[in-house]
């Protein structure tokens, strides 16, 4: 911040100062994000700047372009380029039973709470290609809850939702996933949940019967139901503070009383306006219960 004050103090008598490269670059980023919003309706304007900048440049280089402005021209005139950029902008790195301790904590501390409901609605926000959603479904089946549960799995990106619906994952991941599953307190042999074929590991369709995959944009869409649990892990880290605040408002208004909010291990509600509405269920695994 001190840096900015100093810069404005450097303004000459004419009030004009050549734009520093970084400022120009930030202007270009503002413009391309505004253009994408106006043209396509995807709102990345309040995403964390450092990460979005990396991803814009990655796409620019991949398209053989040398500036963000060049990328803007291409993206606004060519839907295919926009689709490729959308893939870059929506991070789709995920795995089954990522952070096994998280799932263990759900089994031990959240499942007893969920058991008290005759019908359970769970929102898995930012579900990407579905690994997390499927992990939750497996856990709930083993706890005998899946038949009275509906999981609403949403993402901004329709392409990843199509993949998620297929429920097919690379075979070479199964070894890691099996280890995670065991560490997460899995109750049977992981291989019982999928059949291996030429395309990969296809997960049993019975697992996805109670999952509804749908497009939802956390930056602009509204709440669509009341939930007993919302799982949104490592999604809001890509948002700036103002957008995080918006999404926390959305989650707060979508959670029933005693509803559970599950965040990523390195996320926190402490900065948000709604922090006082929650009690910690598990401090390490970032599980919170709405209490007011």
């Amino acid at each position: 911040m001190a840096l900015r004050i100093e810069r404005s103090a450097l303004l000459g008598p004419s009030g004009f100062e050549p734009v520093k490269r970084n400022d120009l670059e930030n202007l270009e980023i503002d413009l391309v994000l505004e253009g994408i919003y106006q043209q396509y309706g995807f709102d990345f304007r309040d995403y964390a700047r450092g990460s979005i900048k990396r991803r814009l440049w990655r796409r620019a280089y991949a398209e053989g372009l040398e500036s963000i402005s060049g990328l803007q021209e291409r993206v606004l005139h060519d839907q295919d380029t926009m689709n490729r950029l959308l893939e870059d902008l929506s991070i789709n790195v995920t795995s089954m039973f990522r952070d096994p301790e998280f799932y263990l904590a759900i089994r031990q501390k959240v499942v007893p709470l969920l058991r008290t409901y005759p019908f359970i609605r769970i929102w898995n926000a930012g579900c990407s290609t579905g690994e997390e959603t499927l992990s939750l479904a497996i856990l709930l089946r083993e706890e005998g809850l899946i038949d009275r549960t509906k999981i609403y799995a949403t993402d901004i990106n329709e392409n990843v939702l199509d993949l998620a619906k297929q429920g097919v994952f690379p075979l070479d991941k199964m070894r890691d996933y099996t280890e995670n599953y065991i560490a997460a307190g899995g109750k049977t042999a992981f291989s019982e949940y999928y059949t291996a074929n030429g395309q990969g590991a296809r997960f049993n369709e019975s697992l996805t019967e109670n999952i509804i995959f749908a497009q939802h944009n956390l930056a602009s869409d509204r709440s669509f139901n009341e939930f007993q649990m919302i799982v949104c892990r490592n999604v809001m880290i890509y948002f700036d503070r103002s957008l995080q605040e918006r999404v926390h408002g959305l989650f707060y208004s979508s959670l029933g009383m005693s509803g559970v909010l599950a965040l990523g291990r390195k996320e926190s509600i402490k900065f948000t306006r709604h922090a006082s509405a929650y009690e910690e269920i598990d401090v390490n695994e970032k599980l919170y219960k709405r209490v007011r």
Binding site: M1, A2, L3, N22, M236, K266, E267, S268
Partner: protein, 192 residues
Amino acid sequence: MPPEGVPPFELVVVGASWGGLQALRWLLEGLTDDFPTPLVVAQHRSSDSSDVMVRVLQSHSPLAITEASDKDAIEPGHVYIAPPDYHLLVEPGSLALSTEGFVHHSRPSIDVAFESAADAYADRLVGVILTGANTDGSAGLKRIRDEGGVTVVQDPATAARPEMPSAAMAAVKGAKVLPLRKIAPFLVEICR
């Protein structure tokens, strides 16, 4: 230069890989609790490593050492360690995390931390490359130099593994090359 009484640098970013824990210990031991500039550390580590690293380093430093959480404010007297399996990005005044793909087979990647820090703080930044067996950090250190920041590299002869500091020296001509034990005193001298 900033006005009188304002520390000349807003942040020190440190990148370390193989042998880094020991090197970081030495570095942090040389910084007293009145060191005015916050530190951000990107140390290569496995995805399932525990908080042992924080505990070990804390037992050798009067500064407050924590694993970074998303949107943590960057404050003096603090050392922020990149958590395992996340990239750490520096924004003006705060930290952000990312689970983007691996960079140089690493998450956290030193380049990601350094490049974002250079964007956030330009010439009010110090970058330090310590021991390691790969080339992560070279591009980031070069960016820091290009933005006018101070660049420091551990003398490869004093490093557990020389590849990473050697690569950084090759990428950034004119980086200050210092034996491990001289790095903390140098930081104290320039950050006052």
